[in-house]
């Protein structure tokens, strides 16, 4: 019997998900032994045409990390969807948009202005901008086109499963891989796997109490103690709005949860959930006083939606009228 075929791909991502896969350490040898790895551009030399030559549905499992930000990402998403039996949105970028998704709070034009004009080290008197197609003496050259908005994988193609995290934690990756290798029954399509079914708070372990806050601190302003709930101490912690599964790693390092495991189960919009949570803990009733406290939350959109702007209900910043 031939080995099941595995593909891994990265679209708009940092490479951290690839490192997380390798972070399963020597168990990667079991993975490599069990699967026939047919495509993994980060680690092995495969070409896109190799994938194109495969029969549709011939890849058993594809772990797709990275968001969809340009025409290359999108065409690879369509290609791998066609070739793979099971397509997994692997990691926060593919699932929620993650850090690349913060680009949805600006426009392509502003990004080009900043990158190709305004940075102090840039010299570009002719105002050259990237163009998808350029005529050169050797013929027509093309590069992928950057899109106006970052999309999650499922906004582009149907996805079977989601593995959250920035990056997904190696023990969780291993648990998923082991289950597959032992022939465990697949969960219902559309499930989030490799994660918990509660909020990050459940894994944190710090005792929580009734909150009456009148001040918020940024992490550099005050060092919180290691015993009490960080939110109780006025540090914006995304735990209440975030899915469990990471083991509350950040909190154990005395840093607030940033929300990389995405919206908690049954939460549609992570940031909205956080608006609700923060509004509940402020112990003030006067609008001016409330506003003064809210002023202490620098960049509420970037904080509450740090990993989920493209997967949020508003999806992106609207163009100014």
């Amino acid at each position: 019997m031939s080995k099941p075929k595995l593909a891994l791909y990265w679209a708009a991502s940092c490479g951290g998900c690839e490192v997380a896969v390798l972070d399963v350490a020597e168990k990667i040898l079991d993975v490599a032994g069990f699967f026939d790895i047919v495509f993994w551009p980060c680690a092995m030399d495969f070409k896109y045409k190799d994938v194109e030559a495969m029969a549709d549905g011939s890849i058993d499992l594809c772990l797709f990390n990275g968001a969809i930000r340009n025409s290359e990402n999108e065409s690879m998403a369509h290609l791998l969807r066609r070739k793979a039996k099971v397509l997994v949105a692997f990691g926060s970028c593919a699932m929620d948009g993650c850090i690349p998704g913060l680009a949805n709070l600006t426009t392509r034009k502003e990004i080009f202005e900043s990158s190709y004009q305004q940075t102090p080290s840039t010299l570009n008197p002719e105002g050259t901008r990237p163009r998808p197609v350029v005529a050169a003496t050797e013929g027509e050259l093309d590069i992928p086109e950057l899109y106006e908005s970052v999309q999650t994988l499922v906004q582009v193609v149907p996805v079977d499963y989601f593995i959250p995290g920035c990056p997904p934690q190696p023990p969780q990756i291993l648990a998923v891989m082991s289950a597959i290798m032992q022939g465990a029954a697949l969960p219902p399509a559309g499930s989030v796997i490799g994660a918990g079914e509660k909020t990050c708070c459940e894994e944190c372990g710090r005792p929580r109490k009734e909150k009456h806050l009148k001040h918020f601190y940024r992490v550099w302003e005050a060092e919180p103690n290691r015993e009490e709930c960080l939110l109780d101490q006025g540090v914006i912690c995304m735990g209440p709005a975030t899915r469990s599964g990471c083991g509350a790693l950040c909190v154990k390092a005395n840093m607030p949860c940033r929300g990389c495991y995405g919206a908690a189960p049954n939460v549609i919009d992570q940031g909205a959930k956080m608006v609700s949570a923060i509004s509940s803990v402020i112990d003030l009733q006067d609008p001016a006083e409330i506003d003064a406290v809210l002023d202490q939350i620098a960049d509420p959109v970037g904080t509450f939606y740090r990993f989920s702007v493209p997967n949020s209900m508003l999806h992106r910043k609207q163009p100014s009228a």
């Binding site: 106006e148 909205a272 009733q285 409330i290 209900m313 992106r316 163009p319």
Partner: protein
Amino acid sequence: MNTNSNKFEPRIIGFLCNWCSYTGADLAGTSRMKSAPNLRIIRLMCSGRVDPSFVLRAFQLGADGILVLGCHPGDCHYQEGNFKALRRALLLKRILRGFGVDERRLRLDWVSAAEGEKFAKVVNEFTEEVRALGPLHLETYMHPQSQGEEPETLEVAA
């Protein structure tokens, strides 16, 4: 119905608390006061029940404005649900601003059971304010096909 095709009729969703504002709206009706027909009312037990995701979902599904009405401060049937609504609205307005949605599209106000007149006034005022802001077209960004186009193409002709 919209008889003048040039006149934009905003779609407004109202979240009204059962104890004060919904009764106030009822009073406006039984008193035969006229108010703009643009408001679609959803009755909730308390303005504190308005989850921020209700507001965002309504915008996502095509609302041009959201009106949240609750009991006056100190009058909440559940002691302080309306203060929770106040804090949420103030924070949510900041979120809307961050997403480039005019924060005036969300309005929180207090209407007691005796204030039929105020209800009609708030609805009329808000309808005109949202009408002046124009339609909110969020759904255009839901589809990947629309990406990569110049923003001009996403605007709707007046």
